[in-house]
Symmetry: C2
Subunit: 339 residues, 2 copies
DNA sequence: TTGTAGGCGTTATCAT
DNA sequence: ATGATAACGCCTACAA
């Protein structure tokens, strides 16, 4: 309830001086600074964020834009959310959660209202009209993910290329040669435009080609049932397979049970490596899934740090951050059977 | 970029008239209203939310307060988040995500900044100091959950009492008599103060007493491993048990595998009913868990609706909303074996 | 180093 | 039904 006016009066200085000491925006003598600060906590003064935003034409609010139709989020996303919110708070910012439909209509209301200082866009598609809208809205923004050509944009993303490379190296180290890849459909059929799948399949194909083995790739819905069907399909179509990399949290469970029901033991007969999933998820499987854990927490923090740096000017250059998934031991991989 | 000033000039009216037509706050003749509205979309005018909030002393921002230490959220929570955000948007509000530590220090910064119009508090404890802080901060708020005596407060919560009642009725309908309850620890040991567990165990004990059967209750960590151990414990300590109600998503998986590893088939020999969990989670088990699904989406919407109603005056009375979990078929329950 | 004063873009009160 | 015009609480040249 106390305003700068009150603080100024109590400290016997001008309202401007209070502003200067609060924001360190101009030098203030130690003596008056002390008086002002005393007055402030005598009154329990807190600067009014709204007035501050109006006067400075810059709010301290960040918006996290996610697809409106999406009603559930995996561990990775929810970790990203909370990590981003926390990082924002630490820098004195607030994070608002904004569902936006893909037609990107609501984008205008957000970026024009003057409420939001900067925006983070989740689930970026390879060709994403929302990016164009943001560009022309002049609102500072950052991508969580990459569109087809993000070279001139700020982004943070999972390093799918290196994650696949690491995964292949790990499995080959166990003696596996015939490795399959199972990915997810992207709900909206636009599978050809979903970055994570595009980049992962490309990296996988390249990695297999380098070893002179034909790449076996399957995609299925994000359900355990679909995973079970994929297991059956793999056994029939590519019986020489001894290991599978799966980027599809929910289907991973189905793979395990699908193989098991067919008499294929995991991991003795078949190794399964779940990539871009979370420890909690992996722990729920029996046997526990060996995992390349997606860096949700790190990404959340990096995203807001980079965006705030940009907003405040100490940006330097574009943010182009890629973080690979990290190996996390489990019970679903083992050495390939010899012979 | 266009302001009310610009709109007023273009329409040839005063700035006040523009405000009146935008907010329907005073009668405006159809003629001028038309001119103003044309001017508005000729200019692509959007009222500045920040200025609006400052002048009216009321922002359109809601804060969702959740425990800062919590880094992962289950399906239920994330559904609650997104549902709340969407409902807020539909009413023209924004939702900010605010991690607050239990010592409730950051609460002041939020409620005093003038940025937030109202607050929703998650994970309410039976005795929760944050509630007292909110009370004395004079910020309108609503509880997600209930403290020990919420009669004078606004809240929405899961109806644990009826959920347990429905669960017992369902299992008894299948012929089960010796039913056990497995709950979770609340991480922070304060189990005696965690509302959901307190209310569920109380309802369970009462329901069993009514049937003249001694209640068997176990609590364990929220991990599959702990669930496996609980299964073993139950078999040893209460061998007559034929069904278990589990309110512990992660442990539920362990229960299934724990029983299975001991040669007890699910559901033929042992029925398992997971309560206050989500369909996605239940579907990941093999066999799929029979479920009492927690109403995350409904709660999220009701919470913000009630809070906004309160903020805008059309509140009527205190919000005291309880929603029971809804039965969702699965493969983990079956008729009790006779003999 | 500190003070003065004119906004920032609305809302809301009084007039007309 | 419409128009002036103070607030709202703070920021920021510009002065002193």
């Amino acid at each position: 309830m106390a305003t700068m006016r009150d603080v100024a009066d109590l400290a016997g200085v001008s309202i401007a001086t209070v502003s200067f000491t609060v924001n360190n925006t101009k030098p203030v003598s130690p003596a008056t600074r002390a008086r002002v600060e005393k007055a402030m906590d005598d009154l329990g003064f807190r600067p009014n964020e709204v007035a501050r935003a109006l006067a400075s034409r810059r709010s301290r609010i960040l918006a996290l834009l996610y697809p409106a139709l999406q009603h559930r989020f995996g561990d990775t996303s929810s970790r990203f959310f909370t990590s981003a919110a926390r990082a924002a708070n630490e820098r004195g910012y607030n994070l608002i959660l904004s569902p936006v439909s893909n037609d990107s209509a609501e984008l205008g209301e957000l970026t024009t209202g003057g409420l939001v200082a900067g925006v983070m866009l989740m689930e970026v598609q390879m060709d994403d009209s929302r990016v164009d809208r943001l560009l022309s809205s002049r609102t500072p923004f950052l991508l969580i993910g990459r569109n087809r050509d993000p070279s001139a944009l700020d982004y943070v993303d999972i390093d799918f290329e290196n994650t696949v490379k690491d995964s292949l190296a790990y499995l080959r180290g166990l003696g596996h040669t015939h490795i399959a890849l199972v990915t997810g459909n992207t709900g909206n059929s636009e599978i050809s435009g979903y970055g994570p799948v595009v980049r992962t399949t490309a990296a996988f194909a390249a990695g297999m080609a380098a070893a002179g083995v034909a790449p076996v790739m399957v995609s299925c819905d994000e359900t355990p049932r679909a995973g079970r069907e994929s297991a059956a399909h793999l056994l029939d179509a590519s019986p020489q397979t001894t290991a599978v990399i799966v980027m599809n949290e929910h289907a991973a469970f189905g793979l395990v049970s699908g193989f098991t029901h067919r008499g294929i033991r995991v991991p003795e007969d078949m190794s399964i490596l779940s990539i871009s999933s979370s420890p909690d998820m992996a722990a729920m499987s029996d046997p526990e899934l060996t995992l390349m854990a997606s860096p949700g927490i790190a990404l959340g923090r990096m995203a807001v740090e980079a965006l705030i740096d940009k907003l405040e000017g100490h940006a330097g250059q574009l943010a182009h951050s890629l973080i690979a998934c990290t190996y996390t031991p489990g019970q679903s991989t083992a050495a390939a059977r010899t012979g």
